[in-house]
Symmetry: C2
Subunit: 375 residues, 2 copies
């Protein structure tokens, strides 16, 4: 009988030298971490060991560990928010746990009870709650990670793994308000493929995308707009899901469009939240919401016809990232922005929907999970 | 001015407790390692640090290191052989160094002078030469590896990296002679794709292939025969290149076929060696040698017509791995083998060509590089 992940077996070793919170203007994404980390070891014979919270510090790993050779690694990105009523909450953590287990299954790393990991993350956050920055847009970025630690050069299913969680206090992605980006529509490099693993949050999906990003940057673009196939379907933007707002002159409606989850698209929590809220809150007489393929040719055509209204990426780090221009071969596809504005009205509204739920101003089902009450 | 990789800056710290060689029958691939390892640190500001040979032991790495999150990792597989005239040689190490640099460039890890690394590997091997096993098929497996070690959760080009080399004494892949394998032709999972990185030796290419291998194993197959695209082109077998021998009743010739290097195929050193030797040594009146696409449908057809003569995988670990059957949907494509035989004549001959060069019985250009003379 293998031991399941069990939060009640948690062992805590407190950091003897707790740190002071940094001023909000000195927070850097993913560069500084809180005083503690959570680690849980797993092996194929016994299952999950006792979860441990201990001082943040380095791992000691054998050079033959499979994580260094064969890409046995996956992660999640979540945030803890300090709400207006002084609670610490997570935003839809069940979605992250589900995806993390799906990522694990895809590369033969162990699955676990997501509720148990949420409880453990709660304990970890509570211990370092003084380091969670205050203010809208400020939060604690949480990075659950799993790596294969078997010490063998054979390419086999790992018999040892390490699940760990580290946390980084972060400020808003856009410190001085939204900043619309320029993208290079990229067809020479392919982010994901049917039968691959682009819908999982695996390390394997990230390193190969950095070179095309550098190439785009040399050409004056901040990110890639990833195209797929001979049709040149738009799939994702950088490491975010891609959304477009079109106007339809025939129906007089707007259309909100994002790529369907066909196995090449990361099922983003922000993506899902925007879709669900849009379906709930937008007037169906004025809006259509579609998960469908959209090619770069359609985008170009609609831009020329004045039917491209807004474009943005969605993700946990920035919530939304407005797009102002897309370079495609010799063409520059323009996304209209009002003078002096860096974002369109729907993009801004969608971000505010999410922010209001994250900071406890608006309740939306069970999307906010309280992990600590500071009152 | 950034410092290049320089073997003359090598610093050696000897292992105070050298180990004894294990008996040949106790060698396990990639499970036990020699007494020393080579490490070289790199950072974007200064370039390569002083190479160090020191006792084999664990690395200490921050939990935020990019190698754990974003797949910044690559490796090579090489072997050192104890030749019949008592020298220690490497087999075409320049090919591994070239590919390693190409892998590094693809994921924004640093490139280096391959000749310098070969010299350093030579020093490393010489120090542990008593651990290189003796006998045909026995060798020292060498694993050059590079990982990104920047401590950041940002998905950017790493500004710190670690190049290291570890070595494992190994026996022949087939301890009791060749053993032909059964493959499952796999089209539901895709190993590599155009615009991806299947032609580089990145960690990213390996973990996603283990689950399909387990599925194939459950169905009674040892490995996957990876198909690509609607055409169902045969690309690779497991982690090896795929070769077929066909007979052509029209010309009366045999044809040796392997997939072309179109960006989805790993440019295997053994693959290249077999092709080059076949072009040099086989009678052109009796053989055609082609790097061309071959679909699973063609294979099935040729098998039925009696034109499929041999099939094998090629790679550093096994040199060749003969194939006896390929499961494809409800069909079992049979590869003929003489009664009592586990390999066809060309497969066996090609393996012997390579073995004879590796163990110094036959000289082939500059394919063998002597790193130590034990006389």
């Amino acid at each position: 009988m293998k031991t399941p992940l069990n939060s009640s077996n948690l062992q805590i070793t407190k950091n003897p030298s707790p740190s002071r919170p940094r001023p909000n203007d000195q927070l850097q994404f993913g560069k500084t971490f809180t005083d503690h980390m959570l680690i849980v070891e797993w092996n194929a014979n016994e299952g999950w060991g006792n979860p441990q919270i201990k001082p943040y510090g380095p791992f000691s790993l054998d050079p033959s560990s499979v994580v260094f050779h064969y890409g046995f690694e996956l992660f999640e990105g979540m945030k803890a928010y300090r709400t207006v009523d002084n609670k610490i909450t997570l935003f839809r953590p069940d979605k992250n746990m589900k995806r993390m287990n799906e990522s694990a299954a895809r590369i033969c790393l162990p699955e676990f009870d997501g509720n148990e990991l949420i409880k453990l993350i709660g304990k970890l956050i509570e211990l370092d709650k003084h380091l969670i920055p205050q203010g809208e847009g400020y939060s604690l970025y949480i990075r659950p990670t799993m790596i294969g630690t078997s010490e063998t050069l054979s390419v086999v299913s790992p018999d040892k793994a390490l699940l760990y969680v580290i946390c980084s206090p972060v400020g808003p992605y856009y410190k001085t308000g939204f900043k619309a980006v320029k993208l290079e529509a990229t067809d020479y490099a392919t982010r994901a493929w049917p039968g691959g693993c682009g819908d999982k949050k695996l390390g394997a999906n990230y390193a190969p995308c950095v070179l095309p990003q550098l190439v785009a940057a040399q050409r004056g673009y901040q990110q890639n707009l990833w195209l797929f196939g001979p049709e040149k379907n738009i799939t994702e933007v950088g490491t975010m899901n891609a959304f477009f707002v079109f106007s339809n002159p025939n129906t007089g409606k707007n259309e909100l469009v994002t790529a369907p989850l066909d196995g090449t698209i990361l099922p983003g929590v922000t993506r899902d939240s925007i879709l669900e809220l849009a379906r709930k809150r937008l007037d169906p007489h004025r809006w259509e919401i579609n998960e469908r393929y959209c090619t770069i040719f359609e985008l170009s055509e609609k831009s020329k016809n004045g039917e491209l209204v807004e474009a943005f990426g969605s993700g946990t780090a920035a919530i939304v990232s407005p797009i102002k221009e897309i370079g495609w071969k010799n063409e520059k596809i323009q996304v209209p922005l009002s003078p002096g504005e860096e974002t369109g009205p729907f993009t801004k509204e969608a971000a505010q929907w999410i922010l209001d739920i994250q900071y406890g101003k608006v309740t939306q089902g069970n999307w906010s999970e309280t992990v600590a009450d500071l009152n």
